[in-house]
Assembly symmetry: C2
Homo-oligomer: 111 residues x 2
Amino acid sequence: MTNRMLDTQDPCGAVLIALADPTRRRIFEVLVHKPRSVAAVAQTVPVSRPAVSQHLRQLSDAGLVTVTKEGTRNIYAARREGVEVLRRYLDGLWSDVLTAFAEHVELKEQK
Amino acid sequence: MTNRMLDTQDPCGAVLIALADPTRRRIFEVLVHKPRSVAAVAQTVPVSRPAVSQHLRQLSDAGLVTVTKEGTRNIYAARREGVEVLRRYLDGLWSDVLTAFAEHVELKEQK
DNA sequence: ACTTACGGTAAGTTATGACTAACCGAATGC
DNA sequence: GCATTCGGTTAGTCATAACTTACCGTAAGT
């Protein structure tokens, strides 16, 4: 039996951290609307281009965006599956078997 | 015409920030399993009680938990509606009318 | 009344993360 | 070849946020 605790452990921590920052969330939303180059993204946000590059790195590490080299420029695009990870986490919060198990334990402890 | 941008603005920013911190997310998960007092929560997490108190404050401000005074102790409980706000944000990312509008603008700009 | 458990608040420290400026390599155009 | 555009990386600064210790009010127990 594989340990479900380990499987479920923190697949969305990076996603939450990535989306928590206002600038980074804005960048992500911009990319949801349309894939763009780094410079194009930088124009839509009040920070420098290197800052955008660093944010894109974090978004990429979190699986929220993809990169495709297109000549000299890198086109970033939002990844639906990235937010799916987070959605599944939210869905599993109350319905997770761990919750059921925990409640079961609680009931046992009460007697 | 009311500005939908303003209506939609940042209802989940506080939620994302609250859940982004590992300790705070752990506390929230613990409360999902079962409502607990502050001291009880503090036992499940490797930080001091005042730290837990501060985290609970943030979770409360984000609408993720509720408090009910019970004698001398404060019982905190996870709030399902709190995460619903975040889920709605995720759902609306691609289906939002703003996306459709933005794409419409893009097409217009291309001619 | 005194004591004890509970918990929020304040002040101060420390760590982390967001940002800029400067630098560098790589691909394109002349 | 040279200049230019694009973009990732580094070093360093600054702000914020997480944490602890100390303190104070409040509600219950004796």
